[in-house]
Amino acid sequence: MMNRNFLVHAGKDWWKQVATQWNRFWFVPRKVGVLATMRIIFGGLLLYSHLILAIHLEDFIGNQAWVSQQLGQHPSLEGSDLDLFSMSYLWDVQTQGILRLHQMFTILVTGFWCVGFLTRVTGPLCWFLQLMCVHRLTGALFGFDQIITYAVMYLMIAPTGMRYSIDAWLRAKISDRITSQKSILLDWLFPGNRSSVSANIATRLFQIHLCVIYLFGGLSKSRGVTWWDGSATWYSISNLEYQSIDMTWIANYPMVIATLTTVTFLWELSYAALIWPRLTRPVVLSIALGVHLGIASALGMATFGFAMIAANLCFIEPRQEILSEDQTAVC
């Protein structure tokens, strides 16, 4: 009987500790400085992506696109990996003029979000428009589209307009009015610079997602041969279609090739574990910077490389960014 009571109490204590740690991980308020910086970077990258698409809109969206509108209506694709047509209304829009207007609207919304204008509205709208876009661009997407879509998804959760934004400037202009009128709507629309639980949730989700991306990136590589024998870097830089800088001279230095391969592989595989302790985080982030700068400069994917570097900012966590729970917080 005594043993049973002891086990019940021990179980309850353990569960309490789990709940406390869980709450500390997710529900502690955090300042939005880092996320606001990320909003500007990802907003800029997304804006660039939409602008390039706008210039060549007919090639990617519409009746004469590579993957045409007609394809979207074909019944034989139902249930296949290509059956994404119900996910975006852009498959159904036939008029090129409307598609152009839609793209201009998307650019406008993305621009507003990037500079931090009405971020509470433009954030979710920007994310939704990006989702509609990626579901229409079947076949033409790559890692860059994934990471910017996830970034907008998480950043829209946080009140990133609190910092480095037109919203913050407007807030300063009308703060007296918000205080005197006690306007909940204006206070929500133009949030003051406070710490926020939603900023912490957004950060945590982005961090976990990034860990999953790297973990499975590493696990997928572990199924190959060249990541183990040290030659994968050679096969990456000798791929002409990816190449933006000719690095084939590196063939004269097999030790360098093998070292770059092994470091990249082990770093990716261990990222999810070693990024959390403060002791190992600077090392992990430094390698991330090196790997992604390499991809950006030599492998022809500048947008993807810079997006991944920006994504790693979610682990930049100055001590003063985390506030104790008794400080002012907003959800």
């Binding site: 204590d13 309490k16 406390t20 869980w22 709450n23 500390r24 997710w26 529900f27 660039y48 390039i52 090639d59 590579w66 993957v67 045409s68 394809l71 074909h74 694709l77 296949s80 290509l82 989702l131 661009l137 079947t138 076949g139 033409a140 790559f142 890692g143 860059f144 994934q146 639980v197 949730i201 989700l205 997602h209 999953v212 790297y214 499975f216 990136g217 997928s220 590589k221 572990s222 199924r223 190959g224 041969v225 060249t226 994968a232 096969y235 990456s236 000798s238 791929n239 002409l240 279609e241 990816y242 190449q243 084939t248 063939a251 994917m301 500048a302 947008t303 729970e325 917080a329 959800c331």
Partner: protein, 229 residues
């Protein structure tokens, strides 16, 4: 242990926690399902867990495997386009093409389109292949039909781009030089011998993809490679 105060109420925390656990599962399961795919299909455990979250993952575009340059960095898959005018004069292009597609992001989107076509490819004349059992051939035939739909969509786009001229395309694999081979004979990476036309039929050597009667096939062994970089 004294209970701590948090900025949100206990009820809100519980509801948000359920949403968070669901979302974290939705992040984790798609790449796990890709990794757990074997000859027998996906692990029954993962596919069962994945089922209720499938639409959610698909809509949020988080149904990805994150297998970048994995399991090994492999060759690129391009398409070669022959444009013929009424006089029978022809020009050949390789897609993607840095001269035709700039900036780099636009080039990369075209690159992904050619890789996409290759990933969809299933050989022609499946009824003669391996097995005549309908249960085996039928799903492959469906996949072949999907490939042809996308290929024909590409052809229509190219016809529009080249103002109605006769277009033919074929898939090309740009092979990577092995490290040893490159050290022994450091040929340029765009050496014609590194571009391998891919067969459309099982057992065929060289292929030219056709858009029904519109396109004349190029003869087998024709040197179509004229890389523009």
């Amino acid at each position: 242990m004294p209970s701590e105060k948090f900025a949100t109420s206990g009820g809100t925390r519980k509801v948000v926690s359920i949403l968070l656990v669901t979302h974290v599962l939705a992040i984790l399961l798609p790449p796990l399902s890709l990794q757990s795919r074997g000859p027998m299909g996906i692990s029954p455990l993962i596919s069962t867990l994945m089922q209720p979250l499938e639409a959610y993952c698909q809509f949020l575009y988080i149904d990805r495997g994150y297998a970048f340059f994995a399991p090994d960095p492999g060759p690129s898959h391009l398409i070669q386009i022959r444009v013929e005018d009424a006089n029978g004069e022809s020009n050949d292009f390789l897609y993607p093409n840095l001269e035709r597609q700039w900036p780099r992001l636009l080039y990369h989107r075209h690159f992904m389109l050619t890789e996409f076509l290759h990933a969809l490819h299933r050989p022609k004349h499946l009824e003669n292949a391996m097995s005549s059992e309908e249960t085996y051939v039928q799903p492959l035939q469906v996949e072949r039909d999907r490939y042809e739909l996308v290929r024909d969509s590409y052809l229509r786009h190219l016809q529009e781009e080249f103002e109605g001229k006769r277009i033919s395309i074929r898939r090309i694999e740009h092979q990577l030089p092995s490290y040893d081979l490159y050290m022994a004979d450091p040929r340029p990476l765009n050496h014609p011998a590194s571009y391998l036309p891919l067969p459309d039929h099982l057992g065929a050597d060289v292929d030219v993809d056709l858009s029904e009667s519109m396109i004349e096939p190029a003869s087998s062994g024709d040197r179509l490679i004229s890389r523009e970089r």
